[in-house]
Symmetry: C2
Subunit: 147 residues, 2 copies
């Protein structure tokens, strides 16, 4: 199997596969007499593993480390479980952060509906986003609207 066949069978591109090889995610394949990479079926599973790892948010580096353990002759299962746990904790935190941000956004939006456009002065750039105005004198001088 040549590189573009592997690519189409795994939903990637030849470019990406060469990149994975450089990144240590795929073993250096055999070469045909003309120098073309020649893959056999197992490469498909490899690429699928990369995609499976990515699907659960692992970085290529993490995936590569799991591959390395496997290629070392050991089962990477316990390392994989640790990664899954770390990933779960990480995602949980990111969800929490995003929900907090969403709450802030919604509050900002709700507050903005009560604001009068005419009240929006240059001091805070925009009162929708930046609630606190700057009342210093030099500011009023410097940011006076040109037109």
């Amino acid at each position: 199997m040549k590189i573009s066949e592997l690519a189409s069978r795994t939903g990637t591109t030849p470019k990406t596969l060469r990149f994975y090889e450089d990144a240590g995610l795929l073993p250096t394949p055999e070469r045909a007499a003309n120098g073309y990479r020649t893959y056999h079926g197992s490469a498909i599973t490899r690429v699928q593993f990369v995609k499976a790892g990515q699907a659960v948010g692992l970085t290529l580096a993490e995936i590569r480390d799991l591959m390395a353990i496997r290629d070392d002759g050991r089962a990477p299962c316990s390392a994989a479980m640790e990664l899954l746990d770390a990933q779960l904790a990480d995602i949980t935190e990111r969800i929490r952060d995003l929900q907090a941000m969403k709450k802030d956004l919604a509050a900002l939006r709700a507050r903005a509906l009560d604001l009068d456009l005419a009240d929006c002065t240059p001091e805070s750039v925009c009162h929708v986003i930046n609630p606190g105005p700057c009342t210093c004198q030099e500011h009023r001088e410097s940011t006076r609207v040109a037109s």
Copy 2:
């Protein structure tokens, strides 16, 4: 006010402030006779606006665009509202994606607890993450454990 004072007053660094200036987020400040940047109080509000925008997930480019509208003499409030709405939609989607990923992760983890370590064969690299094994013959030949 010199750059490091502005930095400490806004919780940033001089480096970041120069970067913001280059990025069009801060107006080019006046210079003292020795070439030092000289800020007045309004710069604090500017930087705070940048931070307020970042806090709700706006990119520096989006924040810069709002600034530009303001510096153009118009109130950026309606543009800001649009950004807030877009941001809300975006965050909502990202939360949804993360929750889906979290569900997958949890399922993978639960399934892994029922798996026998001895069943983890090289074909799938790791059965914890990659469920489907590769059964092709050439694979078994090529990935035979060395040790």
